[in-house]
Symmetry: C2
Subunit: 317 residues, 2 copies
Amino acid sequence: MQEFELIRQIFRNADYAQPNAQIAQSIGDDCALLNIPAGQQLAVTTDSLLEHVHFPADADPFLLGQRALAVAVSDLAAAGAVPLAFTLALSLPHPDVAWLQSFSRGLAAMAQQCHIRLVGGDTTAGPLNIGITAMGCVPHGCGLLRSGAAVGELLFVSGPLGAAAAALRLFKHDSLLSADTQQQLLDAFWTPQPQLALGQWLRGKAGAVQDISDGLLADAAHIAHESGVQLCIEQHKVPLAQAAVACDAAQALSWALTGGDDYQLLFTLTPAYQEQLQHEFPQAVCIGYVQVGQGLQLVDDQGRLLSYTKTGYQHFG
Amino acid sequence: MQEFELIRQIFRNADYAQPNAQIAQSIGDDCALLNIPAGQQLAVTTDSLLEHVHFPADADPFLLGQRALAVAVSDLAAAGAVPLAFTLALSLPHPDVAWLQSFSRGLAAMAQQCHIRLVGGDTTAGPLNIGITAMGCVPHGCGLLRSGAAVGELLFVSGPLGAAAAALRLFKHDSLLSADTQQQLLDAFWTPQPQLALGQWLRGKAGAVQDISDGLLADAAHIAHESGVQLCIEQHKVPLAQAAVACDAAQALSWALTGGDDYQLLFTLTPAYQEQLQHEFPQAVCIGYVQVGQGLQLVDDQGRLLSYTKTGYQHFG
């Protein structure tokens, strides 16, 4: 297990694993020790990425490092938190130092972008499995939750949807798409952008917030359930990623509604904030509203109810 | 994936996953939100347990739940921290609800003993892999590290060693041992006792502290390396677990020196504290001292140098 010791050194010596003002003790001891500023709560989230389940076999380790950290930090964004630190539990079949160095560079790129540092790790021999627990700070009582949506609020997404789901097709089939479009799809899948600035802006304003990981409809259903309200989604307002439309115009809406993996934020806000939101975050789009009831309602541009099934969607009557 | 949703409900509804005064938001949202008391630092550690690597196939899920949490909490003990919360990243091949309920009961038993609560989780389909990130609180600047050992301090272990390593033999071979001895060995492996009271007592007193997970010699080498000192271990003073001796008297010392998995604490302390330590923690044993130099020295009861190899140990000359 000498080689696993070498791997631990790769992480321990990385720039993104060094102490700073908030990290009194970083990776390398039994525990890390973190300073939480007075008046702040700690936001904590954990995510696992598994080969074959969350990403294709033989994935580029640099991209994998970026994506694994982005997915976890996206949850901090959804809580309105400022990233602080993360731990990494990594299982990999062989102690492949070149793979690890590339993976570490991917982590480093996302860690630098998000101002978050590695403070603990555990590396073991086993099927490829990347577990990240991310921690951040949020002013006391200001953490954003799924449970705060209120009737009368509007429903927004932070940007276009569907590109990450469209990218999955590229993994399976040769493609006639332009190199530009292919790159846009792959970027959407491999390098989701945690919406940290928006999440922090939403503190004290939003009703409910969550990031879109399972798909718009599934995640909207979570907000509806946790808040005890009904969300009405106006299907024609859902913003479709250009690259997803270019990839397959007939599929793009379905990808946007159910594809997941986009890591945009889904949130509710009173109409009074809409103008300010659109000024500060022009990519945000109002896609519906909160009403009395439970679950979801999907409507077309005439207000007619649509019903969604796994294989598509159709008019009710 | 309906069944994975069911599994999430098992954890979310568990007693040990409910909010308390320090846990403002528990499992079920994008992030948990924790209150860290003023003047405290957050101690964080992460551990993974993999089937075939850390435990035998078809292990009892109740015992697995206990052990997985104990191993992580033991790191909090080594930092002198008071447990607060943990997250669970669980991959398992099939959404086996009976298995999960038993695993959850094992977690619950250890969580109750250690006063720690589940605040986040991620359950996915994949090879069995249990990732736990544990968090605790320690008064600012009082966290215990591996790097503080100073020349002139004595070296202690918190209790007898070798039983967990001896238990591994039971997994592989039929045994003629008494039922009592077998149970003691299995208990040592499956239900290590995080030394939380001792860890907290050591705050402000100990030089260096860590828990023994890799084995006494390997872990002592970590302290020596991080502290820039040499640890001298008096081999005849190393306390051997009775059940390990009963299992194989000839092997017991080797298990105690290199077996690992006992999760006792290994620590250095000035002689002035020895009497108080032995009064409060009578199981603690002085096994050596800190001196100028680097690495480890193993000596016999005549002070003669011993050299240890993977297959045994022998006199130098």
